[in-house]
């Protein structure tokens, strides 16, 4: 899988999400980094679609975290803006464990990395011409190998 992506349209962001979903395994942690409007929720919608989640994946901001079942692997979608750390994800008492799910965290940089042994950082940005960019940064050998193979 390419490390750098240009995402001119929403459909491109969704497509990258589906590509990430195809590589995803239970226990995976994806940390999405980027400013407001960079496409973090849109990317997660693509991941949800790729995993086969049928219900709409909407912003988790209000409830902090949503669990989407019905796909190949449960998807846990977290907005960490109001959380102090990884521990708080456990305290949410979600009916899905991080070990069995793909956990996608927005606004979680520097806070949630210890949820898993390794994680994939997805750096999203929005250029002046409204094109979104994505940079995949693997943290740990597993993710590095998976990106190189794909």
């Amino acid at each position: 899988m390419k490390r750098e992506h240009l995402l001119p349209t929403l459909a491109d962001t969704h497509a990258l999400g589906r590509e990430l979903a195809a590589a995803a395994r239970p226990g995976d942690l994806l940390v999405l980094v980027g400013p407001l409007g960079a496409g973090k929720t849109a990317l997660t919608q693509g991941i949800g679609a790729g995993l086969g989640v049928r219900e709409p994946v909407t912003s988790p901001t209000f409830v902090i975290a949503r669990v989407h079942r019905g796909g190949r692997i449960p998807l846990v979608h977290v907005d960490a803006y109001r959380l102090g750390g990884a521990a708080d994800v456990d305290d949410l008492d979600l009916d899905a464990s991080t070990e069995e799910s793909v956990t996608v965290v927005e606004w979680g940089q520097g806070l949630v990395e210890q949820l898993a042994e390794e994680h994939l950082e997805v750096r999203l940005d929005r250029r002046d011409d409204d094109v979104r960019t994505a940079l995949l940064v693997p943290h740990g050998p597993g993710w590095t190998a998976r990106l190189d193979v794909g």
Binding site: P35, L36, R82
Partner: protein, 211 residues
């Protein structure tokens, strides 16, 4: 005195009915321990109705409520505490809170329960059962106490010592509550033993909205 005892500080919720008097101590009439994971709110009131039915008594006969105040995972812990507070308020009877760890095992021991985040809630007790240290939260490797340990056996390996499996019991809750039951006017408000502060930090420097 007919006492209803509740605890939701561990993944096994406890509801019990017991007769208690200062002279004769505790006689447990009915008890249910329900492995409930994160379903405390769903399962606690049915368990209370269950023990009332087992003992052939109505809720109106209950004269005091005792509840464990933790420490324990917050969301489940609050279910038991607010249930006890609401039941007592609605019936106009006293509510008494005790440290949940006091209700695990007897005699000289160090009680350990799961605090998540790879840590344990713990408290140490003297031979006569009085708590001499804790409750507190620690990594089991750093506890530095000799034992014997009682409570969640999952910690045996990291403690480097065996842990006698034991859960919160109705008898244990009532023993711990005895001084307050003898003088209900002295009962402190039901404040959970969280032991940890909410982790949230104001998102000033770490989370820029835009660049």
């Amino acid at each position: 005195m007919l006492v209803l005892a509740l605890d939701t500080a561990t993944p096994t919720l406890v509801a019990g009915l017991a007769r208690w008097s200062a002279g004769d101590g505790v006689t447990v009439l009915a008890e249910r321990a329900v492995p409930s994971g994160t379903k405390h709110a769903e399962l606690l009131t049915p368990a209370i109705e269950g023990v009332l039915a087992d003992a052939g008594l109505a809720i109106g006969a209950v004269e005091a409520v005792v509840t464990g105040l933790g420490p324990g995972p917050f969301t489940g812990l609050r279910v038991g505490v607010v249930t006890a507070a609401a039941l007592a308020d609605a019936r106009g009877i006293p509510a008494v809170g005790v440290c949940s760890l006091d209700a695990v095992g007897t005699g000289a021991r160090t009680v350990v329960t799961d605090a998540r985040r790879k840590e344990t809630y713990w408290a140490a007790y003297a031979t006569d059962g009085t708590r001499v240290e804790g409750p507190a939260v620690a990594r089991p490797e750093e506890l530095g106490l000799p034992g014997p340990f009682t409570g969640d056996p999952a910690f045996a390996e990291r403690l480097g010592a065996p842990v006698t499996p034991a859960d919160v019991t109705t008898a244990g809750l009532l023993r711990a509550a005895a001084p307050q039951l003898a003088d209900p006017g002295s009962a402190a408000p039901l404040v959970p033993l969280y032991l940890r502060r909410p982790d949230a930090v104001p998102p000033t420097s770490i989370k820029p909205v835009t660049r």
